[in-house]
Symmetry: C2
Subunit: 209 residues, 2 copies
């Protein structure tokens, strides 16, 4: 498990986001174009060669293994490699989770061609990814991380590609278990309901004692 303490200040975090964010966004656009292109063979082979060279340049110096979790000295968590929220992960839309005073967690995300399952619709597993993530945020009461124990998804209607809103809030806490409910919706209403049981890992419980 790769947990790194990176003693950097807010200005350095901003500098890194300004550097890596646009690169990651450019790769997200490339992912979309890769799915949708109808360019001729020569162009495709040429672009492929260009991308292989670009990748090799990025790999000249790189992290061993996955991004892992990085914390600053003041406790800021940088989940930049995360598949749902990672600002350095081109697979992540990325989801930006907000929280209001009532404990409601929400995020609005626009999902394009890369997130398709059935034609024109968001992949059921992608809705699961978004809901698992936001339910996990809601479950992290007092900033303590929790792991998903059980996740149940009820698909009420198909979710068309485009703008979606994910929501979650804690229903109740029983010992180490936090029960969270959430949903996905579009402008036309609710499409997926979710509930999850999240469990605080022993190392978090131990740390708190």
């Amino acid at each position: 498990m790769q947990i790194i303490f990176d003693d950097i200040d807010a200005a350095e975090i901003d500098r890194r986001i300004a550097l890596y964010g646009p690169l990651t966004q450019a790769v997200r656009e490339l992912v979309d174009a890769t799915i949708r292109t109808e360019a001729d063979e020569d162009t495709i082979r040429d672009v492929e060669a260009t991308i292989r060279v670009a990748t090799a340049r990025l790999r000249e110096k790189q992290i061993e293994g996955s991004f892992g979790a990085r914390y600053t000295a003041d406790g800021t968590v940088m989940s930049w490699g995360n598949a749902a929220v990672g600002v350095r992960n081109p697979i992540a839309p990325p989801m930006v989770v907000e929280r209001d005073d009532t404990g409601l967690h929400w995020a609005e995300i626009t999902l394009g061609a890369a997130y398709e399952g059935p034609p024109g619709l968001v992949h059921g597993g992608v809705t699961a990814l978004l809901l698992d993530q936001i339910l996990g945020h809601a479950a992290a009461v007092d900033g303590k991380p929790s792991f998903t124990g059980t996740l149940t998804l009820r698909y009420r209607r198909p979710t068309p590609l485009g703008k979606v809103r994910a929501e979650a809030r804690v229903d109740r806490v029983e010992g180490v278990k936090t029960f969270v409910v959430g949903s996905l919706s579009t402008a036309d209403g609710l499409t997926v309901e979710a509930d999850g049981v999240f469990i605080q890992p022993a190392w978090v419980r131990d740390r708190a004692e």
Copy 2:
């Protein structure tokens, strides 16, 4: 809903896979490098500019909207844009689903940095994506597509990044509902159990009558 009948033969399908497959794989490698790079600022900005140009070249001629579902005249389904199995989707690992004589569906997938949730572990939502997909394959009895009705995931142990195996099989069929069970495991044993209820859409039922 974009359903396209593309009257191409097996040789043309092979030609397209040989053209688009390596491009998509090159973008998958780039996604991994984008997360992991520690290259200097000048290199990162330069690679970003290169990628923007490459994307513009691919976009000179492209599909309107998402990839959609494409069928050949002989009924072959090309789910090439699918977020889990799409050979043209860099977000997809891609999963290749096999089936044995007993009705067991399985796939072996290697998950790298792009699929991370907690440090060193597969994102719970990514395991949901893989399980939703393979349970859906198992549910598609006689090749008839089904939509996910309910999906329940029980996380038994964390799933480390690396090689995983997904499995699914039909438990029982009751009218329009197909009950499917599945699991995710690593060399060290089972990590996630799943069960799903899949429902045949009305247009499939109507077509069968």
